[in-house]
């Protein structure tokens, strides 16, 4: 009995075949360099009830893409409006053809097909693509003979359990992804052609002028490069976040505020402590003045200690690492942009140093042997002492039985996200100084390793003291922190938690003399420009893109010259370009019912896709509804082309 298993990537196929084959799998070429076929025997599939000859192979992401027929619907060959209901066909590039051919060939003699793609919506769709390819090689492979492995990580018992308890492909998820792909294509292509047709020439001219002025050193692009003004349902909301921040800074008006501050001087030890007003600050001078004079009148320079609290406190170790956190923290701590950090993590994964870096999961499976991963970081072998990393001795201490330390290995905290496909990002093997990796990969590896060790450590422990004074019923507090155990902070230098100044020794109900009671003022300052790490978080929080695509969307709008990044000290700030602002304002001026630059439309579509998965809506219904809306938006935009151009021209004159 023959079973063909197909995973989403070669690394998964390799790991699963090693587990199912008990280490006795043999690999052979597939016709595509990055995919191998692994042969082994396995007893345990419930549908076969005997030992089976298994071939495990993989795809490399999607097996096909959807597009219009270029001869009839290519650029300039049809009325753009036709694209909303033009027929679509599935296309494969050369590599996809090689992979599909391998599946077709391997399926020829298979009795069963088992899908091992990632257990998420996208994985379900890829599984369906695999089924289509397999059927081309073997018509006998009908629905009833296709099974789907349900697994969330590559731990041995979990994989064996998945092989023994397969489910079926979820066709609702397949429909949901199919809907998303078709919508992105139809809306993306139709609006990209409309926008490029409307504004491309103008933007090209403006770029040429700015290129001439800057002797070709302009960011605006090459003179001969054709300007594409693309629309994408995630690109525009991403741009919207940046433009909204720009507008907020541009139109910012400082507002004055006032507050009261008390100061106590302890002349015996020369200690001076500032107490902050419990009300923070108020945006009304008269109110603060009235309260200040009231306290001064009734209490003079006397205040009373009304609360004195000292309690243990912790600074939590970080949660297990997800892709979004990796990108966010590499941007903040290492000044790497999202694309750089993800690309480095991907390479480290391919070289076997890191686990799969695209994951939304921040919970380690309880059965996972994390202690052995810490041991690898410790590199306990004395002979390799010189090769130890900077954090190796920390790792060694973590798993040692040293009675002098409280910082021992502790299973990581659990977050609340589980994508059911991959565990959090963690180091697999330790890094030798002569490893073949570039400097960015080395920095990303160090970050992941330190983050992982911090996850497996104790929280930092400290003691906070808070002293509250009453000054004629107005409350003022001062706080102090004493760090008692640094624990994870020793391996995670990016988290700051320091002992603060000592508080004065006062007792509850003690009356004390105020050295200074001041009414002070300040004013609000504008928000800072958008940073990449902030943009990633806003996109993630508002459902724009996925962990795997967020970096692509940001890069795309940079490549389209809608935003530009600019180094400012240690930060990399994102600023919209004239074109980026013009697109957002232009669409605002057109006044579509739902703004392209806000995240609501995308979120609504996500809700519809969820309903498809739950069986409440069908692909046909969702497509019909959203395409109809876009037809309306397209017609309105097409009638308002001049508005887009006027806004662009106006902004260009004003800003440049």
């Amino acid at each position: 009995m023959k079973v063909l298993c197909v995973a989403e990537k070669n690394s998964i196929a390799k790991s699963v075949s090693q587990i199912l084959g008990g280490g006795r799998s043999t690999s052979r070429a597939s016709g595509y360099t990055y995919v191998k076929n692994y042969d082994f025997n396995f007893y345990g599939f419930p549908f076969a009830n005997r030992e089976c000859q298994v071939t495990m192979t993989s795809v490399a992401g999607h097996l096909s893409s959807l597009d219009f027929d270029n001869s009839q619907y290519g650029w300039g060959k049809c009325n753009i409006f036709e694209l909303f209901d033009a027929p679509l066909s599935e296309l494969m590039d050369k590599n996809q053809q090689k992979i599909a051919e391998n599946i077709k060939r391997e399926a020829r003699n298979a009795d069963y097909l088992m899908i091992w793609t990632d257990c998420d919506r996208e994985g379900e769709y890829i599984g369906w693509e695999v089924f289509q390819a397999a059927q081309k090689g073997n018509r006998r492979l009908t629905d009833g003979l296709v099974y789907r492995a349900i697994f969330s990580h590559l731990e041995r018992s979990h994989i064996l359990n998945a092989a023994k308890n397969p489910g079926k492909l979820d066709m609702r998820s397949v429909s949901a992804v199919g809907t998303r792909i078709e919508l992105d294509l139809r809306t993306g292509v139709s609006f990209t052609r409309l926008l490029t047709g409307t504004m491309g020439k103008k933007v090209q001219e403006a770029n040429n002028i700015s290129n001439d002025r800057s002797n070709g050193n302009s960011r605006a692009g090459n003179k001969n490069e054709k300007v594409i003004i693309s629309y994408g349902p995630c690109q525009f909301p991403t741009l919207g976040f940046v433009v909204d921040r720009y507008e907020r800074i541009k139109h910012f008006t400082p507002e004055e505020f006032w507050y009261i501050q008390l100061q106590l001087n302890d002349e015996a030890n020369g200690l001076s402590t500032t107490f902050q007003w419990d009300r923070g600050h108020l945006f009304d001078r008269l109110s603060v003045l009235a309260l200040y004079e009231n306290s001064l009148e009734f209490a003079g320079n006397k205040a009373k200690v009304i609360d004195l609290q000292s309690k243990p406190t912790s600074k939590y170790r970080p949660l297990p690492l997800t892709t979004v956190e990796l990108q966010k923290n590499c941007a903040r701590y290492l000044r790497l942009n999202a694309k750089q950090s993800l690309a480095a993590a991907e390479k480290l994964y391919q070289k076997g140093f890191l686990s799969y870096p695209r994951t939304e999961t921040d919970i380690f499976p309880a059965t996972m042997d994390l202690r052995s991963l810490v041991e690898k970081q410790a590199q306990l072998d004395e002979s390799t002492n010189s090769n130890k990393t900077a954090w190796a001795s920390y790792a060694a201490n973590l798993i040692s039985e040293n009675p002098e330390t409280n910082n021992r290995f502790k299973f990581p905290r659990s977050g609340s996200h589980d994508d059911k496909a991959h565990p959090p990002i963690h180091p697999i093997t330790s890094l030798a100084p002569n490893a073949q990796i570039d400097s960015i990969e080395r920095r990303v590896y160090e970050y992941v390793a330190r983050h992982f060790l911090a996850c497996c450590s104790e929280d930092a422990k400290g003691q906070t003291s808070t002293l509250t004074l009453d000054w004629a019923e107005e409350k003022f507090t001062a706080s102090g922190l004493v760090v008692l155990e640094r624990n994870f902070l020793d391996v995670y230098p990016w988290a700051k938690w320091e002992t603060t100044k000592q508080l004065p020794r006062l007792e509850i109900n003690q009356e004390c003399e105020i050295s200074k009671a001041e009414m002070r003022s300040g004013s609000t300052s504008p928000p800072k420009p958008m940073t990449e790490s902030e943009l990633i978080m806003l996109m993630d929080a508002n459902g724009i893109g996925t962990d795997a695509t967020i970096a692509e969307h940001i890069e795309k709008i940079k490549a389209r010259n809608y935003i530009r990044s600019e180094k400012s000290g240690k930060e990399t700030n994102l600023h919209p370009t004239v074109l980026g602002i013009a697109l957002v304002h232009g669409f605002e001026a057109i006044g579509l019912e739902d703004s392209f630059a806000k995240p609501f439309q995308r979120r609504e579509m996500e809700e519809d896709l969820k309903k498809i998965c739950q069986g409440e809506l069908t692909k046909r219904e969702v497509l019909a509804d959203i395409i109809e809306k876009y037809r309306g938006y397209w017609t309105k935009t097409n009638q308002s082309k001049n508005t887009l151009l006027e806004v662009y021209e106006r902004l260009r004159t004003r800003i440049s």
Partner: protein, 227 residues
């Protein structure tokens, strides 16, 4: 005219009180209405009146309540988002109290240091919020009041009536209110509450414009040659 008559009416207009009252509460409100209005006729130098103590019950109607713990820009943005949620700014950093349809609710604040992402958008109204009230006596004089303890009625309708009790401090045009020295009577003035959100928006916008022009003028002044 009954108690409900007083609280639903503009007290600067002529009100005829009945000769008998039906409850102690009604009697105290009528008395507060009948008492001499606060500092009537001295409005010009009210700002110089320091630390006066109220010696009688005083009846006022509320003309406006403004949260002075929050900046005008924040309150303006919150109101704009409530009025037009589809076009709200989506990069916001400040807490938001916007209550709109769920599909337009935004995650507007992400705490970069916080691992616990479920605790986003701290929408709970801060108990320590300070409100500045513009209140009017029956004589038409307008004063301010500020609360030092939380007032449960701080989101009341405009035109609501309050009585301020003896012992309350009045400093530089402003009553210093605690929950214990003020009685909230309720009431409404329909005209004042019509399109309140829009009016508040206009107010915040005008204030911000005013700040902006002050800054511009100051900048210009600094740039002017010193001749």
């Amino acid at each position: 005219m009954s108690l409900s008559g007083i609280i639903s009416q503009d007290i600067t207009q002529q009100i005829d009180l009945p000769t008998t009252t039906t409850s102690a509460r009604e009697a105290s409100v009528f008395k507060a209405y009948q008492n001499d209005p606060w500092l009537h006729g001295t409005a010009q130098n009210v700002i110089d009146q320091k630390m006066l103590e109220v010696d009688r019950d005083l009846l006022f109607q509320i003309l406006m309540i403004e949260n002075v713990s929050k900046s005008k820009q924040t309150q303006y943005d919150d109101l704009k988002a409530k009025i037009d949620p589809k076009n709200q700014k989506v990069d916001r950093l400040k807490d938001s109290n916007v209550k709109g349809p769920k599909r337009y609710q935004m995650v507007t604040q992400v705490n970069m240091e916080d691992d616990n992402l479920s605790q986003r958008n701290n929408n709970v109204l801060n108990d320590k919020s300070v409100f500045k009230l513009a209140i009017q006596s029956k004589a038409g004089d307008i004063f301010f009041a500020v609360n030092t303890t939380p007032l449960p009625w701080s989101s009341c309708m405009l035109g609501s009536k309050i009585t301020i009790k003896p012992g309350t401090i009045f400093n530089r045009g402003m009553f210093i209110l605690k929950e214990s020295n003020v009685t909230f009577l309720g009431g409404i003035n329909r005209t004042w509450n019509e399109n309140k959100d829009y009016k508040m928006c206009d107010y915040f916008e005008a204030k911000l414009d005013q700040y902006k022009s002050t800054i511009n003028n100051n900048t210009r002044k600094r740039r002017a040659p010193a001749t």
